[in-house]
Structure formats: structure tokens, C-alpha cells
């Protein structure tokens, strides 16, 4: 592990009972397998103005962002979820989705580096 500032934090995971390195690695692998792909999909759904899909992805993403403590985008994900659900402020969603995607891709790269994956 590095001491460089990171977009994500494993604090919440390590606070869980019996959260050993094996468990953390499992969660990281699953995150890498599913989450970066889903934020790419989020950007595509915004481009298509498919707001139901945008809402669904943002809703699911929220729990992961909280779990891995990706502070930078917590508010943005909530904003996207709410706006897509209520069909308000739609014009702001796409730019925030890009920020979310970039941050997730950055966190994924950092995880790969930190865990030699």
C-alpha cells in the first residue's frame, strides 16, 4: 500500500468485524469487475437521455461510493440519482456523470496499483 493521497479509502471496510486482507482483496476485485463498467454505462445513458437507466445506475453506485468512501463524488452521485428520478435539472446530469466516471476510473487505477492487480 502507498501513502499517496487516494480517491478511495478502505477505512469502512477494515472497520468491519473479521475484515482481513483476503476479504478486502475480494471486495476490490469485485469492485474492479463491475463498478468502472457501470460508470461508463452511466455516461452513455446520459448521452442517450435514458434517465431511468441513469437513475438506476446512480442509485446502485451510491452504496459502493459510500462503502469505499469516495468522498469526491458522494454529492454528485446523490445529485444525479435525485435529478434523474424527479426529471429535474437534467441539463446538469451529464457533466456530473463525467466527473463521477473519471473519479471511479481513477480510483480503480489506484486500486490496481495498490494491490498489484
Amino acid at each position: 500500500m502507498t501513502n499517496k493521497p487516494r480517491a478511495y479509502s478502505l477505512k469502512q471496510l477494515y472497520e468491519m468485524e473479521n475484515a482481513d486482507d483476503g476479504f478486502i482483496l475480494t471486495v476490490i476485485n469485485i469492485f474492479l469487475e463491475y463498478v468502472p463498467a457501470s460508470t461508463n454505462e452511466l455516461v452513455n445513458a446520459c448521452a442517450k437521455e435514458d434517465w431511468d437507466t441513469v437513475y438506476f445506475i446512480a442509485h446502485k453506485l451510491k452504496a459502493n461510493v459510500n462503502l469505499l468512501n469516495i468522498e469526491l463524488i458522494k454529492e454528485d452521485v446523490r445529485f444525479i440519482e435525485n435529478a434523474a428520478k424527479t426529471k429535474t435539472n437534467l441539463e446538469q446530469i451529464a457533466s456530473k456523470a463525467k466527473i463521477v466516471n473519471n473519479t471511479i476510473q481513477q480510483a480503480a487505477a489506484e486500486m490496481k496499483e495498490d494491490f498489484n492487480l
Binding site: Q12, L13, M16, E17, N18, A19, F23, T26, V27, I30, F31, E33, Y34, V35, F56, H59, K60, K62, A63, N64, N66, L67
Partner: protein
Amino acid sequence: MKQDPISIFIVEDDAVYSAVLGHFLSLNPDFHVKKFNTAKNFLSAVYEKPDIVTLDYSMPDTNGDLLLMQVKELSPDTKVIIISGQEDIKVAVELFKKGADDYIVKDGDTQERLWLSIRNMRENISLKKEVSSLQQEVAKKYNFQKAMIGNSHTLKQVFSLMEKAASTNITVTVTGETGTGKDLVAKAIHFNSDRKKFPFVPVNVAAIPRELLESELFGHEKGAFTGANAKRIGKFEEANNGTLFLDEIGEMDINMQAKLLRVLQEQEISRVGSNELIKINVRIIVATHRNLLDQVKKGKFREDLFYRLLGLTVHLPPLRERGSDIILVAKHFIDEFCRENNFSKKHLSGDAKKKLMLHSFPGNIRELKSVVELASVMCDTEEIMEEHIQINSQANNHFRSASDSLTLKQFTAQLIQHCLDTNNYDVLKVASQLDVGKSTIYRMVNNNELKLQKNADNKLHDK
């Protein structure tokens, strides 16, 4: 309290969250956890009837409300914890109305709240399982065929009446000699009826002093009489929604009979020392070894109460009228006694069976039980012999036998003759009791092996 393992299904399409929940719940080795990432996969496994399901409200292939209703329909006893990404009170209330057992929002405290929720549910599940297992045990114990052993025609008629009694709410009068199992019939009717989840309360009227019976049945208020130091609930209230079994009703004091009649008519009681009327819903089963109609004629039993209680009468035949049931019942008691006392299995020798069959058993089942239990103790081998069967000969003066010196044919004739003598020469009844054809009996009569007397012309009851 020791708790059984429980099965938990995690229904969650978010792979990260599913892994976290799975890890967290697997910390307890008593939690058997399975994960499902689609509603379809989960529904195909719900037949396993998991104890608890954690259900993500937003599944991609269905909506949470629908999935909840499907779970409750397919497995009503499964507890469902909704785990949602949104804290929406309206949605939560709607889900509770539809049967959700808890609603937890995905945030930093989710695991802790889930743990608490499952811990509470687990206690409830364990208690429910314990109650259900006890209910099954009771139902098994009081299954009609197990409560009373035998294949005789007379007993089959009793079973048929018991089934009718169990499926309705009719008042039942159980009659029969002492020791025929009237209390067992009452219990079996109760535990096979819709009231089985409520109390069965037996009261032996003959065993309670006359002056205490009213307070025993209806309860009393504090200070109602000397010695009434505290308020006490009576048997009627105790049996509310269940069954009150009044054994030996024929022994009830005539004044008490009037009070009982009023309660039966009004379906309400008042405790001794109180004017407050308390509504009750109690099924009444009564039993007596007396002929209540005779008691009515003698003025010892109120006619109005007699008709109020009459309902369905289940008459239990004495053991001597149940033919080969004697051996079946004896075997049952021997097996039970040997099992309870860690004896090796014992069986009756031919002569021992013969001796039992020839006895009139005035004490009925109770007497037979004592006789065979004693025989099981006296017998050191696996075969219970005639000498181990110790019967009070005073009680067996209906029939004397020098059976040791008889051939099987002579013994059979003597047994049938004994039954004919004690059953008013009713050929059909005796044929049924002994499980032989009536033509066999007539053939033996024609061969002068049996006699249909004393007045053969009008005692012949071939109906």
C-alpha cells in the same frame, strides 16, 4: 436458550454489496447464507423456505414490492428485511403493510442494524420452531389412531364419532366404564379441532370438594370468602377459546348444575364475589361412567342440563367387548413400558395371550396396562409367559377356564361361548368382536359346540 441454525438468503444485484453482506453474515457459523443476484434465481430457490431474506428493493428484473409479495405468498413464514438505497418513509410504510419485517437503508450503519434485526428475528424464529415442533408432537400423540389402539368394529365407530366431534363445535358427552380412556377421547377431540392452539383444561368434578367447585370453575375475587387471599382465574376463563373437559359430570352437586346450566346458556361467567360478567368462548366436553338419563330419572341430574350437554355422545366400549384389541393394546403397553425402562423388547406367548383374552377386565385399559407392565417386570426373558400375567381372579368370575388342558378347537369354542354369554347371544356383535365369520359361529352351533341360550328362540340377535 439454544438456537437452531438459520438459513439466510441475500438477494442483491450489487456484487460489491452482496460480497460485504455475505462476509458479514457468514461471521456467525449458525447462519447458512446463500446469495442471489437476480430475482429470478432467488424465486427458483425460495421453495427451500429460508428463515430470513435480505431483499434489495431495487432489483433490475423486478420491483421490490412485487418480489416481497411473491416471497410472502410462496413462503409465508420467511422473514423479509428490505435493504434499500433510499430512506423513504412512505415506501417503508407501504412495504411494512405488505408484510416486510424490517426496512434498512444502505449506509454506514447498515451492517450493525442488520445484525440487530437478524438477532431479534432469530429469537422469534427459534420460539416459533419450538412451538411448532411441540404442536406437531401433541398432534401426533393425540392422533385418533394413536390415542386409542385397536382395530375392532366398535372402536372404528368411536373414531368416526370423534372425527365428527373434532370437525364441529358440538358439545360432546363421553360415556364408558371406568378405565376406558374417556379423558384420552376428550384430548384427542380437542387436539384435532380448530381449538387446538388454545388450552385444553380438564376438571375432575368428583375430585373437587363440593364447596370449592364453583370457585374452581368460575374463579373468585380477593376476599370473596375466607381464604380467598388473592383474585383467581377459574377454569372457564383459563379454557377461553379452547376446551373445558368436565370429567365425572354425573357427580356434580344439583345446585352447581344450575349454575353450570346458566353459564352454558349465556356463555358468560362471573367470578365468585363479583357481579362483573365475563364473556367466554369455551367448548365443553363432559364424561361420565354413569347413565345420565337414569340419574335424571332419579332426580340426581337436572333434565335441562342433561339436554343442554347431550350433544354428540361417544360411548367407549369396555375392553371385554373389543375382542382381539386386548392383545393389540397389551402389545402397545408392553412396547411402551420396555422402551421407557430400557428393557429389551418383549412379546406375549400364546398362553399369555389366551389368559388375557379370557379375562373380563372390569378395570378396562387401566387394568390391562397394570397387568402387562407387571408382567414385563416379572418376566426375565423376552417372552412373557402365562404365569407372568397376574390377574385378580375375583374380578374374573364371568368365565372360568381350564384352558391348560384344552385343545385349540375347544379353547376357541369356549372363548366364543364366553363372548356370546356376556353379549346377550348377539351373534353379529360377537363375530365382529372376535373377527370371525358369523357363519363360523352358526356352524359351531349346529355342531353343538356352542349354545345360543338361555332362551334360544328370542335371544338370537342376527340383525
